[in-house]
């Protein structure tokens, strides 16, 4: 079995063999937990701490359940960044929890690089649960898992990622992960939401949504933070939706039966219309289940008995 790196901070940390090993283990756990209703004890006696400096009930619940299904104790800590003294909050909290016997940390933070910094402070392994505009590796792995369930492989498949690429840690981790697995990725955004050098993401870049959709096997829509409008990055929700929102009509430009994905939570009527979000091609609910399975696989492989 391919061992995993000590920390998982970026999709760069995993090579293709390691990603495949995570996928296999995740598929195993998904069957166990969701089909057989089994509960495991591979992490019995271990404590996982989720440390959220940026609130996200959805992601925290996913990590928490993943740990509990494996028999671990879970300690959830939410800290508002406004109350945490910068830097010291991160270090002091980490060292305190470490001394209390935490075996694995999951950290979510609104500042890029916070997960790397946190990992440099604490002894136990760290999983990056999303840091600023940097990375969100577990999201990329769950997206990949759903794609593999649907298509068997992503090799040679065309994946369109559409939305606020410039500020998206999901898009970045997806691009790295899918690139390693041989997919052909196209990213699409208005120029104001496209990063300066999109080529470093290893993807084709376009401002034209029709071009991005053309021949796409998967259409991944990104959440648009509405405060970007106030920052002057797009004129109005109405115009954004017209140009970059996914509707059933737009979806017809993709390959027939193309799968619709979204990291959630969605802004319905902004980046995705209700019919597209709830239609038969939507995989958004299934992504959630894959999230738990992927996080179980990672925790097991990072601190489980067999690791």
């Amino acid at each position: 079995m391919a061992g995993l790196p000590y920390d998982l901070l970026s999709m760069e940390d995993l090579d293709r063999l390691q990603i495949e090993a995570v996928m296999a283990r995740a598929a195993f756990y998904k069957r166990k937990v969701f089909a057989e209703k089994a509960r495991m004890d591979v992490l019995a006696g271990k404590t996982v701490s989720t440390l959220f400096f940026e609130p996200s009930t959805r992601t925290r619940c996913s990590f928490e359940l993943a740990a509990k299904y494996l028999g671990a104790e879970v300690l959830n800590v939410e800290i508002s960044t406004s109350s945490a003294a910068k830097g010291e909050g991160l270090k002091d909290t980490g060292l305190t929890l470490q001394m209390m016997g935490v075996d694995l940390f999951v950290i979510r933070h609104d500042v890029s690089g916070a997960a790397n910094l946190f990992a440099s402070y604490v002894e136990p392994p760290v999983i990056n649960g999303g840091d600023g505009m940097h990375e969100h590796p577990t999201q990329a792995l769950l997206d990949l898992m759903r794609m593999l369930e649907l298509m068997g492989t992503v090799e040679g498949k065309r994946i369109a990622i559409i939305g606020d690429i410039a500020h998206s840690r999901v898009a970045k981790s997806d691009c790295i992960c899918l690139g390693k697995m041989g997919a052909s990725v196209v990213i699409c955004a208005p120029p104001t939401l496209m990063p300066e050098n999109p080529e470093v993401l290893g993807a084709e870049a376009t401002y034209d949504m029709d071009k991005a959709l053309d021949g796409a096997d998967v259409v991944m829509m990104l959440r648009l933070q509405l405060e970007r409008q106030r920052a002057g990055l797009f004129p109005s929700v109405r115009e954004y939706h017209r140009l970059y929102g996914l509707t059933p009509e737009k979806l017809e430009k993709a390959r027939p039966g193309a799968h619709v994905m979204h990291p959630a939570p969605m802004n319905r009527g902004v980046e995705i219309s209700n019919p597209a979000a709830d239609g038969s091609q939507s995989q958004i609910n299934q992504q959630v289940t894959c999230g738990v399975a992927v996080r179980m696989a990672l925790m097991d492989m990072m601190i489980g008995e067999g690791c």
């Binding site: 910068k86 830097g87 010291e88 991160l90 933070h109 500042v111 890029s112 690089g113 916070a114 790397n116 910094l117 840091d131 600023g132 505009m133 940097h134 990375e135 840690r169 970045k172 990063p195 300066e196 050098n197 999109p198 080529e199 470093v200 993401l201």
Partner: protein, 433 residues
């Protein structure tokens, strides 16, 4: 003859006179006593300079000594760093707490330096009161107390009219207005140079236009007012081109670049390395090469350190929250030598000029010189020895150097001020000017 110090057998290079020859230099009573093949010298101290370059004392136009008001550096520690780094005189930026924005504060720096500094300290006053960009500071009265230039460094003068007034006023104080060119609306909370690195790390980007737009505005104002403008730490190819363009209009302008912008690129930020976080930010290779070329061919007047020491308390934190700045006094000469002389084949005499006649021209003062009878401010450089940068050994309190472990050559070997060694063979000697 008698000498306090005899520097034996070095290559003596003096850009102020064009001298470049193998010679001995005798120093006595604080002055250069003789230069040439010297026999029968009875010296208290002899420095074997075989294979060394002997140059007039290096000047730094731009450093942050942080005093008063900070625990990150003092005039004492900062000038020990300057001596260790081969500088005989440093210009101290006024963005302290409180800022040096009045004649009394200029006098305070001068007095403090007299009792605690290891090298000459030339105070810079602010352009505006409390560095707020709202009202002119008392430039003429500060000049009377010894301010050599004026700058709100760290913050740009955002208001165009205020900048125009400052440049107008510079004509009667006959000192340069040193401007940190940055349009904060374009920086917009940015953390690093916009490009592949910000995309990869997910950092808020600082577009190059943030510097360039302000460079252009200030150059136009310099052309129109005929005021005296010095541009601090230019970091992009376009900034250099704009500067060169304005010279065509006869503007009374000068510019500096830093060792880190001419030698390093933003790739050092990999892994969120906050020691490489600096403002203006480290740029890509294309800009680095343009800046290095401008330093080599003399398009810019001077190389200045922008020494910005910080404790790890301010540096070792989330990238976004980490302070901007590099502790640079002790690597400036070697970093520049390695990039320019080794890397680009720059003439050693041109190299020395960027640290001697160049800064003197910017300040409008007499250039440091090795001609007989001159004040004996001398910098010795060892052009050969290759050594790795070791920030923990810095005399500066700021160990924040992204160059740790880099193999550089062109290290300063001795710093002599008014005929006394402030540093010899890496050892800083405590003395008072």
């Amino acid at each position: 003859m008698k000498a306090d110090i005899l520097i034996r057998g070095g290559r003596v290079i003096d850009p102020s006179t064009g001298l470049d020859t193998l010679a001995d230099v005798a120093v006595h009573d604080g002055l250069v006593a003789a230069v040439g093949r010297l026999e029968d010298v009875f010296a208290k101290e002899t420095i074997d300079a075989d294979g060394m370059l002997v140059a007039p004392g290096f000047m730094d136009l731009h450093c942050h000594l942080r005093e008063p008001g900070s625990a990150d550096e003092t005039i004492e520690s900062g000038t020990q760093a300057a001596a260790a780094g081969g500088f005989t005189a440093v210009c101290a930026m006024p963005n302290t707490t409180p800022p040096v924005d009045s004649p009394a504060m200029v006098e305070y720096i001068t007095l403090k330096a007299r009792s605690e500094a290891n090298v000459r300290v030339l105070p810079i006053g602010t352009i505006t009161k409390n560095r707020q960009g709202l009202e002119l500071a008392e430039l003429a009265l500060m000049a009377e107390k010894g301010a050599v230039a004026f700058s709100d460094d760290g913050s740009p003068v955002a208001d165009g009219e205020m900048m125009r007034r400052a440049l107008e006023y510079s004509k009667i104080v006959r000192r340069p207005i040193i401007e940190h060119c940055e349009d904060l609306t374009l920086t917009n909370g940015g953390e690093a140079n916009e490009g592949p690195v910000t995309t990869w790390l997910g950092l808020n980007p600082i577009p190059r236009a943030s510097e360039e737009c302000m460079v252009a505005r200030n150059l136009v104002l310099a052309i129109r007012t005929k005021g005296r403008l010095h541009l601090a730490h230019l970091s992009t190819g376009l900034s250099i081109s704009l500067f060169n363009w304005a010279k065509g209009y006869g503007a009374n302008i000068s510019a500096e670049v830093t060792p880190h912008h001419l030698a390093l690129t933003d790739e050092l930020l990999a892994g969120f390395e906050t020691y490489a976080k600096v403002n203006p930010p480290l740029r890509g290779e294309e800009d680095r090469a343009a800046v290095a070329l401008a330093a080599k061919n003399g398009l810019v007047d001077a190389i200045a350190t922008d020494h910005a020491p910080w404790s790890d308390e301010k540096k070792k934190k989330e990238f976004k929250a980490a302070s901007n700045g590099i502790s640079g006094l002790e690597t400036a000469i070697a970093m520049s030598w390695t990039a320019l002389v080794i890397g680009l084949g720059m003439e050693p005499s041109d190299f020395i000029a960027r640290f001697t006649t160049g800064p003197a021209r910017v300040l409008g003062c007499a250039p440091p010189s090795l001609s007989e009878g001159s004040v004996a401010d001398i910098t010795l450089i060892d052009p050969k020895t290759v050594r790795a940068v070791e920030p923990k050994d810095f005399a500066s309190w700021g160990k924040n150097s992204p160059a740790g472990g880099m193999e550089l050559s062109g290290w300063p070997r001795a710093t002599i001020i008014a005929g006394r060694a402030a540093m010899l063979d890496g050892v800083v000697r405590r003395w008072r000017i």
